[in-house]
């Protein structure tokens, strides 16, 4: 009885709200509800994309050595926060403040009822602004993949401001915000940002790496690369799976609404792309090395997801696993080739850069007539239209974004290097960034002997009279104890 009451009452209230007197009022109500549903989905998607910060944190920390783990957390917290303010003050305005050629010009210090691009901004624009910020933050997180274990913390702070205020907004404006790349042909197709987010981030990473140089010990005296294994494969795996989850917000959220159930189709396309990436990368690395390399399977997942990001709203289901699989192949070959010259600890250049380029170009091959028309951007790809036109437009988009971001990033990192320095001292690098920069160890018990704490924390030995042997004694000692 009680249960029936508690569920029955809100339902009755809902019914009273949903069926007002007039028929026109009813239509208006439904439109409002639909609009609210769209905004709800955007905010849910924004939260999923926010969670990708956790994915990047774990991925990077897992691929780092145990002496550089706390710094990964500090970096994500600082970057994510600083970029938020920069995006609110400047970045969003440059990216989405009106459809000019190079950058928007309204919406600085975003506020309620402000006129942005000729329209007043309310909660729905705030949802869009937050969602787009999460993209900017993902792109920024990608930048640091190549710089682990040796970059100065101050470089994070300075580049985060420049990136979120200027560099990312320019690329986003050109393709998402009505800038000049959306006017080439019928527009560059990049549904959720293979180029805008992933290639842009990887290009920043490339510029940083060129000025930073490899980690100490990466290349032997003979110049040959040596693997520097990360300290935790489980953390890498967790990072990959969190990113995969976040990607449903990333791609399916880019529908910016729930109309025609497109978001659900995009989610399925995303899943198929990721699956293709894992399978292809795992098979290829097994064929090449006769070992099922877990890190490479993870990179395959990321590459599949990055590759399917641009086409996710433009291609049919059948194309998704193919695009993802080619992304998986690209990442394996890319990691193995780049490793010979550049020290990229997490494989960001391959997984986000090369796979991002491939994903953007893939639109020029796989975009279907139906979906090019539905989105109203660009034309069908080569396999539908028989024409190379869209492929050419995609290539221009890739080239323009890469060139602009590379130049701006080299200037920014070059200025940091020339003034306060980009890299920690050799002694700090050897000691690890955790103790050198943050004054603490990420895994204290690995570095501080229990004896330092006196009798307070001495582990199993403190059991004294206990008949249980400490877990660490060797088999031989255990036998002697038994005698």
């Amino acid at each position: 009885m009680k249960r029936a009451l508690s569920t029955g009452l809100p339902l009755a209230l809902l019914a009273a709200l949903a069926w007002p007197a007039g028929a026109s009022a009813q239509a208006l109500e439904l439109e409002t509800v639909a609009g609210q549903l769209d905004v709800t989905w955007i905010i849910v998607a924004a939260c999923l994309v926010m969670f990708m910060q956790a994915g990047f944190a774990f991925l990077e920390i897992g691929f780092s050595r145990g002496k550089n783990v706390a710094s990964g957390i500090a970096k994500i917290l600082a970057n994510f926060s600083i970029a938020s303010i920069a995006w609110w003050a400047v970045g969003f305005a440059l990216a989405f403040g009106g459809a000019n050629k190079i950058a928007g010009d309204s919406g600085f210090f975003f506020s309620h009822a402000q006129s942005i691009g000729g329209e007043e901004a309310f909660g729905d624009t705030a949802a869009f602004m937050l969602f787009q910020f999460m993209f900017c933050a993902v792109s920024l997180a990608i930048v640091w993949g190549t710089t682990l274990e040796r970059i100065k913390f101050s470089a994070y702070v300075i580049y985060a401001i420049v990136f979120a205020a200027v560099i990312y907004p320019l690329g986003a404006h050109w393709i998402f915000g009505g800038g000049f790349l959306s006017e080439i042909g019928d527009g560059v197709q990049d549904f959720a940002g293979s180029t805008v987010v992933h290639l842009v981030g990887a290009t920043g990473a490339f510029a940083a790496l060129l000025l930073l140089g490899p980690r100490k010990g990466k290349y032997g005296p003979d110049g040959k690369p040596r693997p520097i294994p990360g300290h935790s494969m489980p953390l890498v795996g967790l990072g990959v799976l969190i990113l995969w989850l976040g990607w449903f917000g990333f791609n399916a959220g880019s529908t910016l609404g729930t109309a025609d159930f497109r978001f659900a189709e995009v989610a399925l396309v995303t899943q198929l792309g990721a699956a293709g990436g894992v399978i292809a990368a795992s098979l290829l690395v097994y064929l090449k090395t006769k070992a099922l390399d877990v890190g490479m399977s993870g990179n395959g997942a990321i590459a599949g997801l990055v590759a399917i990001t641009a086409p996710s709203g433009y291609v049919e289901f059948w194309a998704a696993p193919i695009i993802g699989a080619i992304g998986g192949v690209v990442v394996v070959l890319g990691v193995l080739a780049i490793e010979k010259w550049l020290d990229d600890p997490v494989g960001a250049l391959s997984a986000h850069g090369l796979a991002g380029i491939w994903g953007t170009l893939a639109c020029g091959l796989f975009t279907s007539d139906r979906l090019a028309e539905y989105n109203g951007i660009g034309k069908a790809g080569l396999f539908y239209s028989g024409s190379f036109e869209q492929l050419g437009v995609q290539a221009v988009g890739v080239g323009a974004a890469f060139a602009a971001v590379f130049v701006l990033s080299i200037i920014t990192f070059g200025a940091i290097k020339a003034t306060i320095g980009l890299r920690v001292s050799e002694a700090e690098e050897l000691a690890g960034l955790d103790i050198a920069t943050h004054g603490m160890y990420g895994y204290p018990e690995q570095f501080i002997d229990a004896a330092e704490f006196g009798a307070a924390s001495t582990g199993p030995a403190a059991l004294g009279q206990s008949d249980r042997s400490p877990a660490t004694v060797s088999a031989m000692t255990a036998t002697e104890v038994a005698r």
Binding site: L430, H438, G439, M440, P444, F447, I448, D449, A451
Partner: protein
């Protein structure tokens, strides 16, 4: 026979190992150890509080050689482990009574010789 025991900085080890190998001394053992000397401790910060760690991580090398080879081993270690700063470590030389190669039961100085391991299954 003598055992050379050295406590050194981590970063010096790789070059020492390489030079000892080139000089014909492939056999050595290392241990990750923690110890204190004149080098100051490390100050750790944990949620705003300070914690001074007195024991610093070092590498301990143990290497048993014939008496005549002790000089070469010590020189090699000194060459790479000395930075001139506090915390470079120490070298000790200890007498060794006997040595036995477990696989064959051979005893004495001959077990110290680097030998051809052909026909030996790992």
């Amino acid at each position: 026979m003598k055992m050379v025991v050295a406590y050194i900085r981590h970063e010096a080890f790789e070059q020492i190992r390489k030079d000892l190998l080139d000089a014909g001394f492939p056999s050595l053992t290392i241990t990750e150890v923690k110890g204190s000397g004149r080098q100051k401790g490390i100050t750790e910060h944990y949620r705003g509080s300070e914690l001074t760690v007195h024991l610093r991580p070092k590498i301990k090398i143990e290497c048993v050689v014939e008496d005549s080879a002790v000089g070469v081993v010590k020189e090699t270690i000194l060459r790479h482990a000395r930075t001139g700063s506090v915390g470079d470590g120490k070298i000790f030389t200890l007498p060794v009574e006997d040595a036995i190669r477990i696989r064959t039961g051979e005893a004495g100085e001959e077990v110290l010789q680097a030998h051809d391991a052909k026909g030996v299954t790992a």
